[in-house]
Symmetry: none
DNA sequence: CTCGTATTATTACCAGGTATTAATTAAGAT
DNA sequence: ATCTTAATTAATACCTGGTAATAATACGAG
């Protein structure tokens, strides 16, 4: 009953899910190549697993995005914006997913905390182009897989088109990260 | 010369752009219906306006989103390590891809420079776990799409299990980023 | 009426599928 | 060695939402 080929059907289907998890934009042909089986087999597997075709998957991803936070020129923000008062203060939430942590320790890699705070700081400034000039940051405590990081940012000063922004990131009641950013607002023509 | 139908070509094309701006998931057939012209006309309009077909538009939106979530890759290092002397110095190269830049300006988003330098700094330290403690960084000059950023890092000091690392990132002969990082080496059991 | 632009229609082709039916293969049981 | 059955592959017709190219038609100005 249980056939032993190179891989069992079940193994292959698990790999298929893993591949699509890593990259939902793979065609059946590419998947067939990756898994060493024919295209019809991939189709049957998708059917059994209830996985829709490439174009549907793509659209689902796109619609998620489009429905979510098209407010600012998004795609530019790390984390989800939950509250913002342009030119003043803002809050964003980042949920730590497996691909963001170090393999061994499950600790969030530092640059995600930086990216969340930095992009929130940039989002606060209402200009065509906002660039980070400098930053001073402190990593206070490791953040772990599945934790939720809430970043708070507020503009504390302004000189011409330079803004000074302070951020604090928390997990629960614990501070995990603090940053001071200087960002510069520019218009598209003065580049 | 100027034909006066229900609407001019120009009016219609403006409406077309407006419709797609509001909802990028409209097919040519739906647009034709909305604007009261034939499908071929819509195609010609898109051609003139340089607007890609539905599936391409959908994919672009989806990739923006996907790029945002997974932007900071899965490897532990951002950029490619080209030279390293553990405990002392290292060099990594990062090529700026479309998903790393701001849509409008094609300028590399700051946290990539941070991530490259930070992960290089971490790579220099030979310990089971290395965490960033603090950082002070300066963004000197915008980096553009397709440019190659070379990050140089060296350990300048050490106190117990704290290391002080300075980095400089260059595009060609131009400095684009500088950073000072303090990283802390830990063993797995003392977490 | 005629010229030129705009529009519409038609046709052949493509990717990436769905859905179905049939043929082939692999491997364990007898 | 053959029988059996699931798994796999092949083959075919059809679908959407297009590209690209060409031809036919409408329409208004001169």
């Amino acid at each position: 009953m249980a056939l032993k080929r190179n891989q069992t059907k079940h193994e292959r289907q698990q790999k298929l899910v893993a591949y699509l998890d890593g990259n939902p934009f793979l065609t059946d042909e590419e998947l067939a190549e990756l898994l060493g089986v024919s295209v019809p087999t991939i189709r049957l597997d998708r059917l059994e697993l209830g996985i829709p075709e490439l174009r549907v998957r793509t659209k689902e991803v796109a619609e998620q995005f489009y429905g979510k936070i098209r407010s600012l020129g998004t795609g530019e923000l790390i984390g989800d914006l939950v509250d913002i008062e342009i030119g003043n203060r803002g809050v964003s939430v980042l949920e730590v997913r497996p691909d963001m942590v170090f393999g061994k320790t499950k600790i969030l890699r530092g640059h995600y905390l930086f990216a969340q705070a930095n992009s929130l700081a940039v989002a606060l400034i209402n200009a065509e182009v906002v660039l980070t000039g400098r930053a001073e940051v402190r990593f206070l405590k490791p953040v772990l897989l599945r934790e939720k990081v809430i970043a708070y940012a507020r503009v504390t000063n302004r000189k011409g088109n330079s803004y000074f922004i302070e951020t604090t990131s928390r997990v629960g009641n614990t501070d995990v990260f603090m940053g001071k950013f200087t960002v510069i607002a520019k218009e598209l023509n003065d580049l």
